[in-house]
């Protein structure tokens, strides 16, 4: 059986808009996604995720290299690819204000040749699991933004695609709706072992929860690719402890002198006023000495946690910054 996605040496350049020269959005990407996988693609804005998805969904041609989806070349056999894929871009909505939710789902199913009775049954199922059933006969113009996004999400599954591309599917959704969407993706993959999901997301927890393997991409290159567990194992093994200590007391920087403390950082917790202290040690035993020193500095320990490596720390390790850092920088810009 062919792989769901097979990309070799994929490069894509764009003409720079404001200056001469070109922007290299993808630089020799190699990637294989097996059938039945839920595969995550993580990367900061401008990393090349959307460019890769646009090429794989036949919306963009590669500059060089080859991309196969279900065994068909996206550049030379787009019709065969399109029959087998669908795309959901989070934050977007689909359909026309004058149509109802049910009519919209049926409309988009017709562009894939889904027979009428199958389309009607599938629409009912999708409306049930996405919480749109009560709104089935409401016009889109009367739906909230969140509901329209849910509809867009359901639309992507109307053709029961072999490979579905989910580009930030929970972007802009509230907590409950995001949870529903994640539960639906997990169930869809579980019930259809031959179907494949390629998911891009800003939420590491989402990728950790849903994806069997993830790739970290930045500046158009894949920096790491493995299961979330294996990626976490690649991180340096020093134990990391997080303390919450009282705001008053002597200078915390005196902890740096303790043998076995590799690094430490601290900042005031904005909500409680307490101090958040992060200590990286050579081995767990060192933490006893740290606790003793804190007592000597007249700092009460309010909370202590041993940090396990997360996908977020893996991401920071490879990219050099977190996705939230990037958003904060952008917001502050």
């Amino acid at each position: 059986m062919t792989d769901a996605i097979d990309v070799r040496g994929l490069t894509r350049t764009f003409k720079a808009r404001r200056r001469s020269g070109e922007v290299r959005a993808l630089q020799g990407v190699d990637l294989t996604v097996h059938r039945g996988e839920c595969f995550g693609l993580l990367g900061p804005n401008g990393a090349g995720k959307s460019t890769l998805i646009k090429i794989l969904t036949t919306l963009l041609l590669p500059t060089s290299g080859r991309a196969l989806v279900t065994g068909y070349d996206v550049a030379t056999e787009p019709f065969q690819v399109r029959r087998r894929i669908n795309l959901v871009s989070g934050g977007d909505s689909s359909g026309y204000g004058v149509l109802t939710v049910r009519e919209t789902l049926h409309l988009f199913s017709q562009f894939y040749g889904v027979p009428g009775p199958v389309a009607r049954r599938r629409a009912e199922e999708l409306m049930q699991v996405t919480g749109l059933a009560e709104k089935a006969d409401q016009k889109l113009s009367s739906l909230s933004t969140g509901m329209r996004q849910k509809l867009n999400f359901a639309r992507g599954f109307m053709s029961d695609p072999e490979v579905i591309f989910l580009d930030e599917p929970t972007l802009g959704l509230d907590v409950e709706a995001s949870r529903d969407v994640r539960a639906f993706i997990a169930r869809w993959v579980r019930e259809r072992p031959d179907r494949t999901v390629l998911l891009t997301t800003h939420y590491m927890m989402e990728a950790d929860e849903l994806c069997g393997r993830v790739a970290i991409i930045d500046h158009g290159r894949i920096l790491a690719l493995d299961t979330p567990t294996a990626l976490k194992r690649t991180l340096p093994a020093e134990p990391v402890f997080e303390f919450q200590v009282s705001a008053t007391g002597q200078d915390l920087d005196r902890l740096r002198g303790i043998a076995g403390v590799r690094s430490m950082s601290h900042h005031a917790h904005p909500a409680t006023g307490a101090v958040q202290l992060r200590v990286v040690v050579d081995e767990d035993d060192v933490i006893g000495e740290v606790l003793g020193r804190l007592k000597g500095l007249e700092r009460s320990v309010l909370h202590l946690t041993k940090m396990e490596p997360t996908l977020e720390t893996v991401f920071i390790h490879h990219v050099g910054r977190g996705l939230t850092d990037e958003e904060e920088e952008r917001d502050g810009a």
């Binding site: 792989d3 764009f14 795309l87 026309y96």
Partner: protein, 282 residues
């Protein structure tokens, strides 16, 4: 890497069925919209009717032959279709792109021509309600008469005209697809000159042979001229002999359809090369 042996290409029949379903589905959006958006009815019926009324009253005030009032009512009905070709169909891909849902059409396996044909048929159905309202208003309010015995050939020529007009719309659609905003402004600027060249409110031959023939590249110009000749004979001051017009309209339809198909493919490929197909605000 070979494709799965179990996934055979769909046969011609399956492809045809899928594309017909797409035509019907896209057309149905327009038809449903026409009954659900009452504000459109006012914008597309009442306002064109007022413009048409102005010309009827001018001809009446000048004691022009009664046929001229018939010319104006027919022109008023035809304007509704032309406006639908430009603003309801040709610009549709531009709007889809601006709303971020053009990509949803472009990743489907159906032909883009099927989607455009669906838009055209839906647009024709929607606009026909407006055109009928304008004709009925003209007949009831201004007592304009059309010889019923000639309705069938007029209808035939009308159908051929719509075929050519909407095929031209498909060509324009491919231009809107890539150069949406620029084409939008150009179409808006050219709207009044096109109304003039098409002779919506007067016999196009009044502009002189050269200008009138140049205007005949627009299918509505020739079509309207022919329909007026069918109803009013020599009093219509026709531009070309009536028997010439149906073959010209058929030839224009075939030519425009061929060009539209080629241009749509060319523009889509250009967009995929340049990465502009899904960029909003371009």
């Amino acid at each position: 890497m070979a494709p799965d042996p179990g996934m055979l290409d769909p046969g011609l029949r399956q492809k045809l069925g899928m594309n017909l379903a797409a035509v019907f589905a896209r057309a149905s959006v327009r038809v449903k919209a026409s009954f659900r958006e009452s504000s459109w009815v006012i914008g597309e019926t009442v306002f064109p009717f007022l413009a048409m009324s102005a010309f009827v009253l001018v001809y009446r005030g000048l004691h022009a032959p009664r046929e001229y009032e018939g010319f104006v009512v027919l022109g008023g009905a035809m304007i509704a279709y032309w406006n639908n070709v430009i603003w309801g169909m040709a610009s549709q891909f531009f709007w889809e792109r601006e709303q971020g849902q053009l990509q949803l059409y472009l990743i489907t396996p159906v032909s883009r021509m099927s989607i455009l044909i669906g838009m055209a048929l839906g647009g024709i159905a929607m606009t026909t309600t407006r055109a009928v309202a304008i004709l009925t208003g003209g007949i009831l309010l201004y007592h304009v008469s059309f010889p019923l015995s000639r309705a069938l050939p007029a209808l035939g020529l009308f159908v051929l005209t719509l075929g050519a007009a909407y095929s031209l719309g498909m060509i324009l659609s491919s231009l809107f697809l890539l150069w949406g905003r620029e084409v939008w402004h150009t179409a808006a600027i050219l709207q009044e000159p096109i109304y003039l060249l098409s002779g919506f409110y007067f016999p196009v031959s009044a502009m002189g042979l050269v200008v009138a023939v140049a205007g005949s590249i627009l299918p509505v110009t020739l079509g309207l001229d022919g329909i007026r000749q069918v109803f009013y004979g020599p009093a219509a001051h026709g531009l070309l002999p009536l028997p010439w017009i149906p073959p010209i309209q058929i030839a224009l339809t075939l030519f425009f359809l061929y060009i539209a198909r080629r241009m749509l493919r060319y523009m889509e490929n250009l967009g995929k090369h340049e990465g502009r197909l899904t960029v909003r605000g371009d």
